[in-house]
């Protein structure tokens, strides 16, 4: 018996029961498209986070207050006057230290949420008071106007650089450059607008206001330690090269421990992580998330497979007499087996194909719509191959038992079956 005959036979049998075949298909279609959509979204999120973090470069270190394992909120505890705060004086000490040979630029940052007012418009945004080198380290480029410099720092000038989105919402039609905004009822002149950066996971990176650290410390946060040092939120430190990151980390640790007067056996009251480490953590988290989503979708695929098995069992029962006739005129057991296997394979193959098309389409739509919010869907060939082959595999596997039952039927009894 030729394979083409089996295929024609299977197609005819499926066509004879169109509604039944279609309903069975739906189960597989939903499963396959769900796997593709969820995995693509998972990958998309991972890709967008990764791209943002890797933008920062692998030689950047991130210093936060708080002992390892402590809640990140310890930063605000520190701000409330606890001793283990990071201070601008710490940052300056690192920058100036002769022992910090692997340390390049040191940027200090205070971050707070403020309401920015311009005329009748206002917007709640993240304010970063930073040293001028901050923008170089984290790749914030000024699109129009200028960035603040050491001169602005020294004079605690009331100037701000606006993120693209802030400028757009506050000043709609007119140009924000050279205008004034009010923060805490203090007037600040807009001297620059940042380049548009887009969103990550629904969070716009353009919803930010930068101002000189000294200005922010003096006018906005005004946090001081009991010793009168200026409390900052974090430091961004660039090592002198990608190979110097570990040395830099060690040197910073030594300097800060000395400055914070920590005992030998005491834990550090700050955290230093490289962006590479953060990237690894992000990768793990999103990887687990993607896997989780995929396994939920996988369950629906399995359910689809059970649907195939169910319908094939019914089909075998329905066609017992046909099987008897075929056996009488010379069909071998394997011919019967093959006939039903090809039927279930055809079902699962077309289910996989349709699911693939739908999954791909929906992922495209998510990509297009989600672009605004920084949610992408990355369809890679491995996802498609995985989803498709799993669906065909599940379909084939579900066909094995019914096909075996069909092949095992006794021809005499099958012929008598009513």
């Amino acid at each position: 018996m030729k394979l083409i005959d089996s295929l024609v036979m299977a197609l005819k049998a499926l066509a004879a029961n169109k509604l039944r075949s279609a309903l069975t298909l739906i189960g597989l279609v939903v499963g396959v498209s769900a796997v593709i959509i969820l995995m693509s979204v998972g990958r998309g999120v991972q890709a967008s986070i990764t791209s943002v973090v890797s933008d920062l470069g692998s030689d950047v270190l991130f210093v936060m207050p708080g002992r390892p394992g402590e809640n990140p909120l310890s930063a605000s505890m520190a701000a409330m006057g606890k001793i283990d705060a990071l201070t601008w004086e710490d940052a300056q000490a690192i920058e100036r230290s002769a022992d910090a040979s692997s340390v390049g630029a040191v940027a200090s940052v205070v971050t707070t949420m403020v309401e920015v007012v311009a005329g009748r418009e206002s917007r709640l945004v993240e304010l970063d008071g930073t040293t001028p080198n901050f923008s170089e380290i984290i790749n914030y480029a000024v699109d129009r106007g200028i960035h603040f410099d050491q001169g602005h720092m020294r004079s605690r000038a009331n100037v701000v650089v606006l993120g693209d989105k802030v400028a757009e919402t506050l000043f709609e039609d007119s140009d924000a450059l050279g205008q004034y905004v009010k923060i805490n009822s203090i007037k600040f002149r807009v001297i620059g607008i940042l380049e548009k950066k887009g969103s990550v996971m629904g969070q716009s990176q353009d919803d930010v206001v930068l101002m000189p650290l000294t200005t922010a410390l003096a006018r906005i946060t005004q946090g001081l330690t009991p010793q009168g040092q200026h409390i900052i939120g974090s430091m961004l430190i660039k090592a002198t090269g990608p190979g110097e990151v570990d040395d830099a980390k060690e040197q910073i640790t030594d300097i800060l421990r000395k400055r914070h007067r920590l005992q030998e056996d005491e834990d550090s009251d700050f955290n230093i992580s490289s962006f590479e480490e953060i990237l690894a953590i992000v990768g793990t988290i999103t990887g687990v998330m993607t896997l989780f989503l995929a396994s939920i979708a996988g369950v629906s695929l399995v359910v689809g497979g059970i649907g195939v098995m169910n319908i094939m069992l019914v089909s075998v029962k329905d066609r017992t007499r046909e099987i008897g006739i075929r056996r009488a005129v010379g069909a071998k057991r394997r011919d019967i087996m093959l006939q039903f296997l090809i039927e279930s394979a055809t079902l699962s193959f077309s289910g996989g194909l349709i699911g693939l098309a739908i999954g791909w389409g929906v992922a495209q739509v998510i990509s297009a719509v989600g672009k605004e919010f920084g949610i992408g869907a990355t369809i890679s060939p491995d996802i498609v191959v995985l989803a498709f082959s799993v669906s065909v595999g599940v379909g084939l596997f579900s066909g094995i038992y019914p096909a075996t039952r069909a092949a095992r039927l006794d021809p005499i009894e099958a012929l008598r079956f009513e």
């Binding site: 018996m1 030729k2 005959d5 056996r327 009488a328 005129v329 010379g330 057991r333 005499i412 012929l415």
Partner: protein, 227 residues
């Protein structure tokens, strides 16, 4: 040629055993037309299944055209059914959703030849070429049975086994069917084995073999075969 030597068949090898055949010996020459008669439960269907290679005897020997088939594998039996044996059933047993010609083609599919030409020839021999594309539901009982005969003929078998071929037909259609069998036997020397309750049908054969309780109780020669 069919040679059966002391064949027995026991069903249900557990607590309750049914002895369907209790030692049947039988010889049917090539080109004979033989009727197998007997009441229900006499074992004629079982004997028919064994001769048709749908079943194998519990003991005894069955030689078909010089080939001992009682010990063959399932696959070999399927091949023999396909090449040497044509079945005609009381209930026609056509595939319901396919055309007459596709039904006739079925054995060809399993012998790997698949020829529309042979199927048309077979339909022509039973006078149904004009209805080749009709489905079974569009055909009368007599026509359906003629399609079944065409299907039995398509691979040029040595034997046609007909199990109550006229049982579901009115007498006129039954006579037509019997006329076809008679002609196939006379002109093409195809061996025909009929299982029947109907004495008139039995009388069309050259020989009647009567079974009862799994044994042959009587053989009647109706007329000499045309040799």
């Amino acid at each position: 040629m069919i040679e059966i030597e002391n064949v027995t068949k026991v069903y249900g090898m557990g607590a309750v055993e049914v002895h369907a055949l209790r030692g049947v010996s039988l010889r049917i020459e090539q080109g004979e037309m033989v009727a197998l008669m007997g009441p229900s439960g006499s074992g004629k269907s079982t004997l028919m299944s064994i001769i048709g290679c749908l079943d194998q005897p519990t003991s005894g020997a069955y030689v078909l055209d010089g080939l001992e088939v009682s010990k063959l594998t399932d696959n070999r039996l399927a091949e023999i059914r396909n090449r040497k044996i044509g079945f005609v059933f009381q209930t026609f047993n056509l595939l319901p959703r396919v055309s007459a010609i596709a039904n006739v083609e079925l054995p060809l599919i399993y012998s790997g030849v698949r020829g529309k030409r042979q199927a048309r020839e077979a339909l022509e021999r039973v006078g149904l070429l004009g209805r080749a594309s009709h489905g079974p539901a569009q055909l009368s009982g007599g026509e359906q049975q003629r399609v079944a005969i065409a299907r039995a003929l398509v691979n040029h078998p040595a034997i046609i086994l007909a199990d109550e071929p006229t049982g579901n037909l009115d007498s006129k259609a039954g006579e037509e069917i019997m006329a076809i069998f008679e002609e196939l036997n006379r002109k093409e020397r195809i061996t025909i084995l009929l299982v029947t309750h109907d004495q008139d049908v039995g009388n069309m054969a050259q020989r009647i073999i009567r079974l009862r309780d799994g044994m042959i109780i009587k053989e009647e020669i109706i007329r000499e075969a045309d040799r």
